[in-house]
């Protein structure tokens, strides 16, 4: 199991628990942690799972969750360790994402927050593929909202025929209301 990495505003890195369990053999204060380093073990229902530092983790341990316990009960997302990357001279990593604002032209946005599926069933072909030319009324995916599957149908103010430039949202992705699912152009 890998701990989850969070970059904090103060420049430190937080390593968070990926599970619920009893954490033992925690690194000591002041020790050096890099990606792949062992972070002790987590006991889940009597079994011990080795825990390791995720990619991007590098620094000196400046804080440990319940350092005086041999076995510390942790929740999902409990901050196990805080690392100071500067103390280790670690390399900063760019976290900039792709520039969304460059998207111009027609898009299809999710009408609700939910989970987007590109296929009617896991063993079925996708509804649409980049390059397809479709008309309004065509189903382009499923949106699971509150455990109900809704068919997403092209509609609204679109040209009579559109070409799908790109399917932006991944299959099974959690999407927000208004998030761009497809980029389109008139065909």
């Amino acid at each position: 199991m890998k701990a989850r990495l969070e970059r904090r505003d103060d420049g430190t890195l937080a390593l968070r628990s990926p599970c619920v369990g009893l954490w033992r053999e925690a690194p000591r204060l002041g020790s050096l942690v890099r990606a792949g380093a062992p972070l002790g073990r987590v006991e889940v229902l009597g079994r011990l799972w080795p825990l390791e530092a995720p990619p991007g983790a590098a620094g000196i341990v400046v804080e440990v969750w319940e350092p005086n316990r041999k076995r510390a009960a942790v929740d999902y997302d409990t901050v196990l360790l805080r690392l100071d990357p500067e103390a280790a001279g670690a390399i900063g990593q760019s976290t900039a994402g792709p520039d969304e604002s460059a998207a111009s032209g027609l898009v299809f946005r999710s009408p609700m927050a939910g989970r987007f599926y590109r296929r009617p069933a896991p063993d079925k072909p996708v509804f649409v593929e980049a390059g397809d030319v479709v008309e309004p009324g065509h189903a382009i995916g499923l949106l699971e909202v509150m455990k109900t599957f809704n068919r997403l149908v092209l509609g609204g103010e679109l040209p009579p025929r559109v070409r799908i430039v790109a399917v932006v949202a991944e299959d099974g992705a959690d999407v927000e209301r208004g998030e761009v699912l497809l980029r389109l152009e008139p065909a």
Binding site: D75, Y76, D77, P120, A121, M146, T148, F149
Partner: protein
């Protein structure tokens, strides 16, 4: 005399968790909530002990058995209440709890397993003297088998999730051409909702009414029923309104079914609270559909008529106590109605309406009970079902209960998200509802006729 538990882990969320915790606290038991990241700051867990299970998605939090059991163990609980939904009817989960020293507040895993496999359950209930609905012998392997079974039993047919409940994972096929799509859709929804994509088939009995029987059993073989509930007002198999007594049911058929259900419950070695669901067909016969081996959303209707707290009984029975009353001690009185208020817009095809509840006021009044987890400022997460609250109204008769419910719903304030309150009011005021002219296929008084 067996003692009670000190700490009970609540493996559920929202209204369910709030309901179970209330009884725990009344009994002097400390509730510990297992929560997802999406629920960790919700009002109903504030000031209580909690363990964060995982991210908002239920598959990685409320449905992850190992996380839940480990969380209960490390928070030093000795019993676990599964509520309803999520893992409540999962026998592996019940067994995992017991294996790690947690008392699962539900029936024994093997009984749950048998009744959870809905087709074997039907067979067992048939043997115990209950009348059945024609359907497939077992799980359907593929669409082709679905088609073959449908052709034999006759259309229309209903595809149902083997691990289903709450109306999810069900699809109707009216003729042969619809079977494949219905089969695939039922499977996909069942997989998402229950983590199990097995489906079976039953003949769809249209124009039927949904009637169910509340049962309660201890470990010593004692069984009582708490009367029946009518859940005929449904939309896409989702119950909207439940009431007791069933307004359309012959007295002798009621007696026969209540007695047979209690007998069958004893026959399978059931323990705890459970419900047998029946379809009341056109001839007035109650046909067994399935047994829900858990408490149900609408259990409050039976609580309102009997004065018995079913969560308390589950806890007592789970701790090994005998039922403190016999069938003849159970007084079933008056009429009770429950409305499920969902965050859905009834004027826009019941579109789910996640969002922030800016103003909230729950109704009060004589004979009114409200079960909810909602407080002002609550954000309805997109991950879970849309139930906001349940309003239960009790009266001497059906008309009084209806009038009290109408007054209560008029008092309910919910701003920020759309709710189904306008639909409930239209139903309760409709002549069709008052005169019993409806069935599971049509909502009485909705959609409203435009004038």
């Amino acid at each position: 005399m067996p003692r009670l538990f000190r700490r009970v882990f609540i493996a559920n969320r929202g209204e369910v968790a709030a309901r179970v915790a209330r009884t725990c606290e009344r009994l002097g038991i400390t509730p510990v909530f297992g929560v997802s990241e999406a629920d960790r700051h919700a009002g109903y867990v504030r000031g209580h002990e909690q363990v964060v299970l995982g991210p908002g998605r239920a598959t990685h939090s409320y449905l992850d058995m190992e996380r839940v059991v480990q969380a209960a163990v490390q928070s030093r609980c000795s019993a676990l209440h599964p509520g309803w939904g999520f893992l409540a009817e999962n026998p592996v989960f019940a067994a995992l709890c017991e294996a790690h020293g947690l008392t699962f507040l539900g029936p024994p895993a093997h009984v749950m397993h048998r009744m959870g496999k809905k087709t074997p359950a039907k067979r067992a209930m048939g043997d115990a003297g209950l009348t059945l609905i024609p359907g497939s012998e077992g799980i359907l392997a593929d669409a082709a088998e679905a088609r073959a079974v449908a052709d034999t039993i006759g259309y229309p047919v209903l595809l149902k999730a083997e691990s289903g409940g709450g109306g999810r994972g069900m699809r109707v096929a009216r003729d042969a051409s619809e079977v494949e799509r219905a089969f695939q859709e039922a499977r996909a929804e069942a997989r998402a909702a229950f983590g199990d994509d097995r489906v079976y088939m039953e003949r769809l009995i249209e124009r039927g009414r949904h009637v169910e029987i509340q049962l309660l059993a201890d470990r010593w073989g004692n069984v009582v029923h708490l009367g029946e509930r009518d859940c005929t007002v449904q939309r896409n198999h989702q119950k909207l309104i439940e009431e007791s007594p069933a307004p359309v049911l012959a007295a002798d058929e009621r007696e026969r079914a209540l007695e047979a259900a209690a007998r069958a419950t004893a026959a399978i070695g059931y323990v705890g609270a459970g419900t047998m669901e029946f379809l009341l067909d056109g001839d007035g016969t109650l046909r067994f559909m399935e047994m829900n081996t858990r408490l149900q959303v609408e259990h409050c209707v039976s609580e309102a008529r009997t004065g018995i707290d079913l969560v308390e009984q589950q806890i007592l029975v789970g701790a090994g106590h005998r039922l403190a009353f016999r069938q003849e001690d159970v007084r079933i009185e008056g009429h009770a109605i429950e409305c499920r208020i969902n965050a859905e817009d009834p004027f826009d095809e019941f579109r789910p309406a996640p969002g922030v509840i800016e103003r909230w006021r729950a109704p009060e009044g004589e004979g009114i009970r409200v079960d909810t987890h909602v407080t002002e400022g609550y954000e309805v997460p997109p991950f879970y079902d849309s139930l906001l609250c349940k309003v239960v109204a009790r009266g001497r008769d059906r008309d009084e209960a209806c009038e009290r419910m109408i007054a209560a719903l008029e008092d309910l304030v919910c701003e920020g998200v759309a709710t189904t309150v306008p639909m409930h009011l239209a139903i309760l005021r409709s002549e069709a509802f008052r005169n019993h002219r409806y069935d599971t296929g049509s909502i009485p008084g909705w959609p409203q006729e435009s004038r």
